[in-house]
Amino acid sequence: MTLTRGAAVMLLLFLVAAVLVPAAQVLRTSLTDAEGSFTIAYYAQVLADPYFRSSLIGTMVFCAATSVAATLLALPAGWRIGRGGRGAVYLRAFCQANYAFGGIAYGMLVVTLIGNVGLVPLAEHALFGTEWTKGVAYTVPGLVIAYFGFQIPRAALLLAQAIEKLDPRLLDAARTLGASPVQKTLLVVLPLLRGALTSTVLSTFLISLASFGVALLVSRKLTIYAVAIYKEFMAFSEFGSAAAMAVILSVSAVLAAVAARRFAGRTDMAGL
């Protein structure tokens, strides 16, 4: 009992020191001008600025779109991991290793593969004499590939947890009732996984919003909001604006999460 209470107190202290205090400090910075007076000028400034506004909207749309796509693309891998079968163990290990890589590693992989002097452009040039793939890493498709690199394995693991809980007799029942594999997927599997799919899209979206390393390395055409915050803070020492942008990003993420939950509705048969 004492141990449990002690652990709870420690956890609370850690939460206060590591999360609440810094968050309060960021909020205070965003609402305080150079003279120390209360202000909302930083919010007004970053929300009114077309560059920051388009960066925020672009980031939200990009992360949402890639999260949905990554979740759908992760379904086959999640299915194999969740249902078992040949290669399932290795697939799970590969996806778990993804957590160790981190976003910046994926950015480097993409640069190495399809950067200006990446392996693919070099091979293309050697084989065909063309340069179609040169510098693709720095385009929006390159950014998508880099994001997929960390989104798909994580989404696959999240989906696998729900797929493991799927009652196999329901799938057998669908087959005995005459459903083809496609009908079984569309009419039984996806509806049963609706809650899990929503949770996976949401988790992937939130991870993507906070992902910083990939965008820093490869994003040229699209200014990812986290990178914009980094530049405001590090390059221009605009602490008030950076703090306001951080708060806006956090609030936007929370609102998006709430909206996604509402959209998912009550169906959560195999939710996470």
Binding site: T176, G178, Q183
Partner: protein, 333 residues
């Protein structure tokens, strides 16, 4: 359309689960696959359905070899032990499912689903979420779903095992009434002899992956092919007569003899169990070692340690198996 199984074999690893099964399931006939756990009955059902591939042999639907056909192409109805209703669909939605995957239009499939639910007396609960239905109601929805597309065969895997005993008795009767008029072969798996006797036109008793006996419920109970069959289908004791034949006696086959009347066997009573509507007596013949179990009326005066005289009822059966020492006494004892 009859279903024929030819030399069906199934091996899991190094274990032979089914060893050359040859059977025919006739249209309009309810066949019950009966047997203890591990006898291969559910595996055989799943081979008929196509859910499990046979290691060898052939499955024929009306003469057409469907062994290689996937389950979705076999046009079967299957009622799972757990019912396996889709939790994201209503009762009507579940029943519509097989029609939906066959491309039946919305109006027609709604009507046919309603009709199927009406047959199982569930039309009034058509729009209910299946999670709110009782076990018996879920089972009826599962049967309606299995039948709505007019399958070539109806397969049921332990349909009563998930029900509590009181409900089970009632549903068993209802199920019999539902299955009886069906014009297709019905194959039902159970490990419960009461279910088999009430539901079956034909019983297949499986043991060790082989057909131990095939016949009507009366055949199996009254004329078991061997001791294994006899014991699986209820309490079976054996008495040997003067000619060395072993006589199968069920608990109801012996009755207490009148004090001054003739008797066929004398038992030393070892145990008396009160079962409410009757008493179950376990005893042995004076020179025998095998226990004999007899049911007597609840009012009969029997006590452990005493000798009791019994007569064999007129319907007693003789089952000539290996000869043993005589335990039967002469009529003048």
């Amino acid at each position: 359309m009859d279903i024929t199984l030819r030399d069906i074999r199934k091996t899991f690893g190094h274990t032979d689960v089914l060893r050359g099964i040859n059977l025919t399931f006739r249209s309009g006939t309810v066949t019950v696959l009966l047997g203890p756990s591990g006898s291969g009955k559910t595996t055989l059902l799943n081979i008929v359905a196509g859910l499990v591939p046979a290691t060898g042999g052939h499955v024929l639907f009306g003469g057409q070899d469907v062994t290689a056909l996937p389950v979705e192409a076999r046009h079967i109805g299957y009622v799972f032990q757990s019912h396996a209703l889709f939790p994201h669909l209503t009762a009507a939605g579940n029943v519509e499912f097989p029609l939906r995957v066959r491309g039946v239009g919305r109006g027609e499939r709604r009507q046919r689903a309603r009709d199927a639910l009406a047959i199982v007396e569930m039309a009034h609960l058509a729009e209910r979420d299946v999670s709110t239905l009782s076990g018996g109601q879920r089972q009826r929805v599962a049967i309606a779903r299995a039948l709505v597309a007019n399958p070539d065969v109806l397969l049921l895997d332990e349909p009563l095992s998930a029900l509590d005993p009181q409900l089970r008795d009632r549903i068993r009767e209802e199920l019999r009434a539902l299955l009886e008029p069906l014009p297709v072969p019905v194959v039902l798996v159970t490990h419960d002899q009461h279910d088999a006797f009430v539901l079956a036109d034909q019983v297949v008793l499986l043991h060790g992956g082989e057909v131990a006996q095939l016949g009507t419920p009366q055949d199996l109970y009254l004329r078991p092919a061997n001791e294994t069959v006899a014991r699986f289908l209820g309490i079976a004791s054996y008495l040997a007569d003067d000619e060395g034949n072993r006589r199968l006696v069920r608990p109801e086959d012996l009755e207490l003899a009148a004090d001054d009347g003739p008797c066929d066997v004398v038992l030393r009573i070892e145990r008396v169990q009160f079962l409410g509507d009757r008493q179950r007596v376990t005893g042995s013949t004076p020179d025998g070692d095998a226990p004999i179990i007899v049911d007597v009326s609840k009012a009969a005066r029997v006590a452990a340690g005493e000798l009791a005289r019994f007569r064999i009822r007129r319907n007693g059966r003789t089952m000539p198996v290996a000869a043993q020492a005589s335990h039967l006494v002469g009529p003048g004892y």
